[in-house]
Amino acid sequence: METVSRKNQTWALGIVLFFSLVSIITYSYNEYYIYLSAYLWFGFIYGMCLQYGRFCFASAFRDLFAVGVPRMVVGIMIATVLFAFVSAFVTATGISTFHSSPTSIHSVIAGLVFGVGMVFAGGCASGSLYKTGEGNGVAFLVILSISITQAMFVDVGGWLNKLVPASWTESALSKGLPEGLDVGNGWVDQYLAGYVWNQPVTSFAKMLGFENESFLGAYFGNLIVGVVVPALLLLMVVYLFYARSSRAMEPGGGTGGGIGEDIKGFWGMLISSKRTALAGLILGVACGLQMFVMEGLRIKFGVRNAGEILQRLGSDYGLSMRGTVFDPGYWYVTTQEAQWVGWLLQKLGWKNMDNIFFGYINGIPNPALNPADWMSLALIGGAAVMALMSNEFKFKKPTRELAFLAVIGGALMGVGSRLGLGCNVGGFFVRVANGDPAGWLFGLGMIGGAFLGVKALNWWTERKMEKELIHLDL
């Protein structure tokens, strides 16, 4: 590690001391705050890992499709496999807080929209958070755009209601949801209750006839069949189409040595991304530990959701109709971003508790008491500490062009997240690692979307350069 300035060190220590004080003071005030502090410290660790490993899906796919460099995609895949090992252990011990999501084509479409958006924005949901911690103004704009778009998208009806198939409306209304919800009004409500909830919820273990918590289910079904085999296939495709050809162009490299040469090349590709893989391993262990700690705290306090904790802390504002708030028990990014804007919009007079997303499931608690918001803020803090300690922290003001792309890309990611019930973390990384087939469907869409996004950006850049050259000729 190179020499770090005293100023950077002071700032880094200041940030970690701030979070320490928040934890200590709130815990001294009321024991229940430890539940929020658990989210905080795991968020902090995620931030440190993300920044260290440059864990950004947008950069990974842009490097692959635009310049043929597979290093980061490989690192992310290795990280996913390592996380899956930890998840299998957590699932087999029966302490996992993970729940599979409905599996159908909607995940592919959602991933496609999200993938295009993340390439436009120059950062995925997790990448934008850690880059914000590095002082990147564009990434901050992306987060704002994702947050605002989601908060509005989940509540809008009006002309969008005309795009809802009649079967969705009929199915949504037949669910017998509480009267306080305006299920027949709002595209997302009818999409969720009328379509998504009707889709099968499964896992690779269940598809093979095992229980998730059984040894065979967790390790063979969810880990080997659900993660290791598909990840190996994907890595082989990346090797054949990208790494192999670039290796052939290297001095002394080549593909004429038969299968032995290919195995050597494949291994070389795997070990070329140690930093991202190491970050992935720590992320995986941290995700598993978070599930363990959150479940332990739930048993200790006798609760199944943080809504009950908030109520005991004397804050029942913004709880959903079922008394719940968003409390996944593991790493998540986008839902809490929607919540804080949802809370703000409600303060400004927008009635947004009559939709399923806020009113029935996640609530809109005060951001100061929202466990998942503590996680995201600490994630930014953890990334800032790592950036300061590696001399990579720098305030970067966005240019007009990048700001425009950030807003458009962020909006697409916001829509994609809500369609897919998660982003590249909650919709792909966590789901795939826990043996949920919906995660791979989202991933397939996301890869397709990233490919289209790179092609569109290339076209736009070339067109812009042509125009500039014409002006120079004149």
Binding site: M1, V293, E295, K300, L319, M321, M389
Partner: protein
Amino acid sequence: MPKSFAAVLLIVAIFLGYLIGYSIPPFLHAGVFSSREEKGVAVEIDEDMEKYYEQLYQQDEDE
């Protein structure tokens, strides 16, 4: 490794260790790591509580 970075890691490790230590006894108490068949404690929101939250929401609407 600068001493300040080591200090950061130490602080994170202390909080993480405390959280893990805090969560283990409930698991032991609930028999999660024992041979007991029924693991953990089942907590469900009962109907009265659900009604309470619905009414709470409607009161907010009326206001």
